[in-house]
Every structure is written in structure tokens, then in C-alpha cells.
Amino acid sequence: MKAKRKSSKQGAPEIVELFLDGSRCKGCRYCVEICARKTLAIGEEMNAKGHLLPKVVENGECAACGLCAMICPDFAIWLSSEDEEA
């Protein structure tokens, strides 16, 4: 999944790549809930167990804070690079 980067860091890549392992996801929406930019939403794609997977919303902007990766109880979502914390 790709999102436009919204970053204050100079020289950071324009696109943040979000990885999702659909086989681990249980559709709990923790990632959707924690995202301060509302970049994630539950999509229409369903995994083999019947859970609806999250997706990046249209024109979604990502600050690469990494909280979705951190909150996921199933280690199903992670980022390509994370902004350093303030």
C-alpha cells in the first residue's frame, strides 16, 4: 500500500510504503483507529479467514509515525521507513 508522505524531514522519500500481511490481519481496526491522519480505513478486501483488511484511503497522507505498526496486535502492518521521533 502506498501513501503520500507528509513529513517535515528534509530529503525523506516522497512515498511511504505500507506493507500488509493479510494472512495475519484480524480486521480489528486498531491501525485505523490510531492513525492521526485518518490515512487508513477498512477496505473491501477480505482475507481467507473472512477479516476485512485495511487500506490506504484515496490521497491518503502518511507521516510515517509508525504507530499503526506498533499498535497492530498481529504484526500484520509495517512501514518501509519511519520518521525519527521528536
Binding site: 510504503e17 506493507f19 500481511d21 494472512s23 495475519r24 490481519c25 484480524k26 480486521g27 480489528c28 481496526r29 486498531y30 485505523v32 483507529e33 490510531i34 477479516h51 504507530l67 505498526a69 506498533m70 499498535i71 497492530c72 496486535p73 498481529d74 504484526f75 500484520a76 509495517w78 518501509s80 521521533e85
Partner: protein
């Protein structure tokens, strides 16, 4: 392209038995989140993962031991702490972590909890508190708030619960803190701090149980639990743990409550050995 290939694996997978995922925890259960913070805390603390020995008891939280790629022991109900004590005393180079739930640590394991705190054994105890015995179907436990419904308090719980930070502090715990699984960065940093500290370190992690406790008390799904933690938490570092009681649907006091230094069991024992070797 090549970077995408490189990043195909979740970086925390190095600490997980990925061949056992997805976990048995329900959708919306916070235990997995606590584990995620714990793994990141290990990295933040720059621990040698080979030296970590993780001991758990029985219950949903106890299943953490089976998912971490560390030397891990899934022991009997309530007995993680004495098992961990044996590990810690027999090999002081081990970094001993106990990871278990409210019922396991404070009901059947209560006696061991208070004595390990009293002795100041070098270990970090992570107590995930979801206010019930989830694995067995949502029975009341020693942290179930008054009035709460559980499968064994169908008319509302009438047993006053433990305030775990107060219990551990009163028993002599030198580091006592509480966070929720919503407070990700605080929890990660708190765990990282606890993990490098000598002595008995206790971190209570409040988590939602959407399947039983949360459902029986109309507290909604996992995300509703997160919202409750976000809205009702009050952070008060340094507060007196006696003020940290939790009422049903009430505010949750969070923070680092106790951070003191006290001689550890190991230190005391070494001094005794020196004395013993000098005496006739």
C-alpha cells in the same frame, strides 16, 4: 523495487515465532499490542536477546511466551514468578522477564508476586490486566472492578479488586508503573526503562478484552476499548499508587508511580557469601 523486496518482512519478525502466527488472541485483544511494545522496548534498551529468559503463566497473556523467539517458558498457573526466581538466582547474567495476566499473577500467583517484590529479585514483571480470566470464558478475577459483570458474577461483582500498583509498591517493588495499550510510546519507553533496571520492576498494562469482559460490560470492540483508554486515562507520574483504584468505566490513572533504589536480593546474597566465607 529492491527496497520493497527487502522490506517484505516485518522488522519485528526477528523476535517472533512467525511459523506460529496468526496468534490465538481475538481480534481487538490488546495483548498482541503489549507484545509489540515489549519487542520495541528490547531494541530500545539494546538488550542482548540471547540473554533474555521469558517466563509466563497460564491465560491469554501467558501465551506470549509461545510467540517470542526468545528462550521462553510457559509454566503452570500462577508460578511464573518463582520459576523465574530460580532462573534469575542461578544465572544472574540472564535478563529475566515474567509476562502474564492479572489472574495468574495476582490471584493464584499473588503470594509469589508479593514475596518477589519484597525480596527485590532482579526481574521485570509485565502484568497485562484485562480485568477477567479471558481464556476460560470471562470469570471474575482479583482486578475485576466492583459491579462489573463476569461469567461468575452474573449479578455484578461485589468483591473489591486489588489495586496492583499499590499492592506491589506496598510489597517493596522498586519500579511500579501502569500504562494502557493505547499509550504505545509511553509503554515502550517504560518497558525499556524497566528492562535495564536492577531489582523488581512491575509494569501493569491495561488491555481490552472484547470477547468476554468487554462484551459482558457493554464496553464494545477493541477500538472502543482504545477510545476508552484515550479518553478516560489520567497520567500522573509520581502519584501515590493508593490513588490508582479503577472503578467500572471509571478513570484510569497511569504513569510511573514508584522509582526507587533498594538493595537487590542478589546484591544482599553476595554480601552474605563474603561474610560466610570469612566466618569459621
Amino acid at each position: 523495487m529492491s527496497e520493497a523486496v527487502r522490506q517484505q518482512q516485518n522488522p519485528v519478525d526477528a523476535y517472533l515465532r512467525v511459523d506460529r502466527l496468526p496468534s490465538i488472541w481475538c481480534a481487538g485483544c490488546g495483548i498482541g499490542t503489549s507484545l509489540s511494545c515489549f519487542i520495541r522496548a528490547i531494541e530500545r534498551a539494546k538488550l542482548d536477546a540471547d540473554k533474555i529468559a521469558l517466563v509466563s503463566g497460564i491465560g491469554c497473556s501467558g501465551r506470549v511466551a509461545g510467540y517470542v523467539k526468545l528462550d521462553s517458558f510457559h509454566t503452570t498457573h500462577g508460578r511464573a514468578i518463582p520459576f523465574a526466581t530460580g532462573l534469575a538466582l542461578a544465572n544472574p547474567e540472564l535478563k529475566v522477564v515474567v509476562y502474564s495476566g492479572d489472574g495468574d499473577l495476582a490471584a493464584i500467583g499473588g503470594n509469589h508476586l508479593i514475596h518477589a517484590a519484597r525480596r527485590n529479585i532482579d526481574m521485570t514483571v509485565i502484568c497485562v490486566n484485562n480485568f477477567n480470566y479471558g481464556m476460560t470464558g470471562g470469570q471474575l478475577g482479583p482486578t475485576t472492578p466492583l459491579e462489573a459483570r463476569t461469567s461468575t458474577s452474573p449479578y455484578g461483582n461485589y468483591e473489591p479488586p486489588f489495586n496492583l500498583p499499590r499492592l506491589v509498591a506496598a510489597s517493596g517493588g522498586t519500579f511500579v508503573a501502569r500504562w494502557t495499550v493505547y499509550h504505545l510510546r509511553q509503554l515502550e519507553r517504560c518497558l525499556a526503562e524497566a528492562l535495564v533496571r536492577p531489582g523488581f520492576n512491575f509494569v501493569e498494562v491495561i488491555a481490552h478484552c472484547p470477547t468476554v469482559y468487554g462484551r459482558l460490560n457493554k464496553q464494545g470492540q477493541g477500538t472502543d476499548g482504545l477510545r476508552y483508554f484515550k479518553e478516560k486515562s489520567v497520567v500522573k507520574n509520581g502519584a501515590d499508587p493508593a490513588e490508582a483504584d479503577i472503578a467500572l468505566d471509571g478513570p484510569i490513572m497511569l504513569g510511573k508511580f514508584v522509582d526507587i533504589q533498594r538493595p537487590s536480593f542478589c546484591g544482599n546474597y553476595q554480601q552474605v557469601c563474603v561474610k560466610a566465607q570469612k566466618s569459621k
